[in-house]
């Protein structure tokens, strides 16, 4: 029975199926009353950690999320998928706007050390900001090796083999534990949380703490200037023949 322990970071984002609306004052997107759920890549990360636990390679899976009170729903989903306990690093809504990858990375780094975990799983990026930075920054702060865009993960004793999806194809690397792994799309297909597990999850513990308790400073040096919708795509024009196509392209000055 392995003694490895895993920490999985999950983020609560606007549900990917929702149509995004920009606020009239261009300060951000509308989040009030909009459906939120767990970031899809974070779900994949949770699934991988739970599978390792089921294979008895990992002893405990802890789910963590940073943000306002509603984050607890997301942690509960992770618990319903099989995580053992949760940690909610509470950040009031007003301050949560300035929570970026660097701030979250600082929190995760401190937590990883405090909880003495061997593995830190994250989704490769969040679908709201598309930053793809948190995992990498956390690894940097901890001075841990990292396997990002993982499409396959194999534990080998005190090492972990990670197959990474990169533009040129697949790269396989071997990392010494403890290490950071970020999940890509093809790593696994997350399970449905079954009813018995959803009921059990209600009884699992979620520890609430403040960033100050970890000694982390959340000030951000980045401020959002404006958020705008992309320009409307104009309708295309259909032409009948290649001659027409060439003529049209010449007309609009493209050739």
């Amino acid at each position: 029975m392995a003694e490895l322990r895993a920490l999985v970071a999950v983020k609560r984002v606007i549900d990917f199926a929702v149509k995004i609306r920009v606020k009239p004052d261009k300060s951000g997107v509308v989040t009030d009353g909009v459906k939120h759920s767990m970031n899809p890549f974070c779900e994949i990360a949770v699934e991988e950690a739970v599978r390792l636990k089921e294979k008895k390679l990992v002893k405990e899976v802890i789910a963590v999320s940073c943000g306002p009170a509603q984050c607890q729903e997301t942690i509960r989903t992770a618990l319903a998928m099989g995580a053992d306990r949760g940690i909610h690093v509470e950040v009031p809504a007003a301050q949560a706007e300035s929570l970026g990858p660097l701030q979250v990375a600082r929190v995760l780094a401190k937590l990883a050390e405090k909880e003495k975990v061997d593995l830190l799983f994250l989704g490769k990026q969040a679908i709201d900001d598309d930053c793809n930075q948190t995992g990498q920054m956390t690894a940097g702060l901890l001075d841990w090796p990292q396997g990002t865009f993982a499409s396959q993960v194999t534990l080998e004793g005190d090492k972990i083999k990670v197959e990474r999806e990169i533009d040129g194809g697949l790269e396989t690397i071997r990392l010494k534990l403890p290490s950071v792994v970020t999940a890509d799309l093809r790593l696994n297909e997350p399970r449905y949380a079954t009813l018995p597990n959803i009921m059990k999850a209600k009884k699992k513990k979620i520890e609430v703490m403040k960033p100050g308790d970890l000694g982390v400073d959340l000030t951000s040096k980045i401020s959002v200037i404006s958020v705008e919708e992309p320009p409307q795509r104009l309708a295309g024009v259909k032409v009948e023949t290649t001659e027409d196509l060439v003529a049209k392209l010449k007309e609009v000055g493209r050739i």
Partner: protein
């Protein structure tokens, strides 16, 4: 006006678009993983110029399979074509390849041999066309999305196909009252997307939403998945514009909730299946979009438990219950085998899909979780799952909505749509399994349990008269004995026109025939369908 979800992450996030529903309903062999060109073997949209795929087995001409004689209507002449061309220039189609798909129904069970497809854009054009056809005694087959299940949407012989495909404009939408006025050829899914942007939804929803037209829905009084919550089109349709057999335009397109001035004529046309008039515009009341939608998928150990789960849900969920569907283990096996959809819960004899819609996410989730706790602890449900995000909601619904598609891929489908007292809903399936034995590949039951509506389907390698004789009239007689309906929501069309006697007394049938004679004395509107041929 197609809504494409903006992919906010790697383009490889292939679960994305709601467009998969459109492509699957076109009968294309796409799973959730592929978004792309529909291979339109069965595509009703092939009428729009997609050529049909060679290699698909030919469908037998209806008059060769069923005993039906052509009535003495005129045949289309060059002068007729010229007249149509004057009314709708450029939209008179006689190309056999384009007509191919419009002559065959979605189930590929009936085929006509029409030589003319007309595509008007306005009510006035429909009126002029019908005036001409009435004068010349030419038969007309109104056609919407061609997704009907009883062969009512395609010609039996050479009736002229009058398609509503180009009558797809929204006329008006009032966002305080929620009243939508639109032409009959608007596709249901597109109307849903139009309304969604304005925080409303259509009062009906069905698996064929990507292709069916609202005019067809009204003409067949379609039921669907939201019937439990929002009721029948007979309640939600406020007004209609109809063109009668002789070209007269009947404009009852009011947008009033209450109007008791005289007989309610629109009720005649709702569900008349194109035999009393052609619906050209609809005024419909749309409910506000629920802020919180939750879907749970449950496994039950037996049908008795399914019924008890239903009672429990009705009692504890109350006003937020918006759908209650059931399916049996064979249905799950078929969607797994043909469409590669995964079962989200452990294998059970029955599965139930429960949907709640409400205005408060917290309130609804609390109610739903307490119901589920209750049914789980009392053993009514052996396993279940709740959708945690939109993608899971769509995947759970797909398990129920795509059963029809999976059945089509299993072979030839004998389809029955029955209303029964809810306690006896599954007994017919069990009875039939024993009766047909190994002659059928699968005998499955699923449907709108909340409405007492069973969809009973029997699949076989190919059509077989022997199997048909074992099924009919046994199924109808069984239903009549329970005082049920032999066609709960699919209508009569061509395939069931002779069996309405099992659910309606002779006096009623006679009165229907009298009304038909009154409104369409020449009988040119959708002949050979809906009512039994008079003796």
């Amino acid at each position: 006006m197609v809504f494409h979800l903006v992919p906010r992450c790697s383009a490889r996030l292939f679960w994305a678009s709601s467009g998969w529903r459109r492509t699957y309903i076109q009968g294309a062999s796409v799973g959730l993983k592929y978004l792309g060109c529909p291979r339109d073997t069965y595509s009703p949209l092939a009428c729009r110029g997609y050529s049909s795929v060679s290699g698909s087995p030919e469908v037998m001409l209806t008059p060769e399979r069923y005993p039906v004689q052509r009535l003495p209507f005129s045949t289309v002449s060059e002068e007729d074509l010229a007249a149509f061309e004057r009314i709708i220039p450029g939209r008179v189609i006689t190309d056999p390849e384009q007509l191919e798909a419009c002559n065959v129904d979605w189930l590929r069970s009936v085929r006509g041999c029409s030589k003319v497809l007309l595509r008007p854009q306005t009510t006035e054009e429909v009126s002029q066309i019908l005036r001409h056809c009435h004068k010349r005694n030419l038969a007309v087959n109104p056609q919407g999305g061609n997704t009907g299940m009883v062969g009512g949407s395609v010609p039996v012989f050479d009736e002229i196909i009058l398609s509503t495909a180009l009558m797809n404009q929204v006329i008006s939408f009032h966002d305080v009252s929620g009243i939508l006025v639109c032409q009959a050829g608007c596709v249901l899914e597109e109307l849903s997307q139009y309304l969604q942007e304005r925080d409303f939804i259509m009062p009906l929803d069905l698996g064929a939403k990507g292709s069916c037209h609202i005019g067809g829905n009204v003409a067949t009084n379609a039921g669907g998945l939201r019937f439990l919550r929002y009721g029948s089109l007979r309640g939600t349709v406020l007004g209609l514009e109809v063109v009668l057999a002789d070209g007269t335009i009947l404009n009852c397109l009011t947008s009033l909730r209450k109007d008791n001035t005289g007989y309610d004529l629109k009720q005649l046309f709702i569900g008349s299946e194109g035999t009393l008039g052609i619906i050209t515009a609809v005024s419909i009341l749309c409910p506000p979009r629920p802020k919180a939608v939750n879907v749970a998928f449950l496994g039950c150990p037996g049908f008795a438990e399914v019924l008890q789960t239903f009672s429990t849900c009705k009692g504890m969920l109350g006003e937020i219950l918006s759908a209650f569907e059931f399916m049996d283990a064979e249905c799950m096996q078929l969607v797994g085998q043909h469409l590669h959809l995964t079962n989200p819960v452990q294998e059970s004899p029955f599965y139930v899909l429960v949907e709640t819609s409400g205005s408060s996410a917290g309130h609804d989730t609390e109610k739903l979780t307490s119901v589920l706790e209750q049914v789980l602890n009392s053993g009514l449900v052996s396993d279940g799952t709740i959708a945690t995000d939109q993608r899971k909601v769509q995947m759970l619904w797909a398990l129920r909505e795509r059963i029809t598609e999976a059945l089509s891929r299993d072979g030839y489908v004998f389809k029955y749509d029955i209303s029964l007292p809810v306690e006896r809903l599954y007994d017919l399936v069990i009875d039939l399994r024993t009766r047909v034995g190994p002659r059928a590949k699968h005998v499955v039951g699923y449907g709108h349990l909340g409405d007492g509506n069973l969809h009973l389907n029997v699949t076989a390698e190919a059509f077989s008269q022997e199997l048909l004789s074992a099924l009919e009239p046994y199924v109808y007689a069984w239903t009549a004995e329970q005082r049920g309906s032999v066609s709960a929501e699919h209508g009569l069309g061509f395939k069931k026109k002779n069996v309405l006697g099992y659910s309606k007394p002779p006096v009623a049938v006679k009165m229907m025939q009298q009304l038909k004679a009154l409104l369409d004395p020449k009988g040119i509107l959708n002949p050979y369908k809906t009512l039994p041929t008079q003796a």
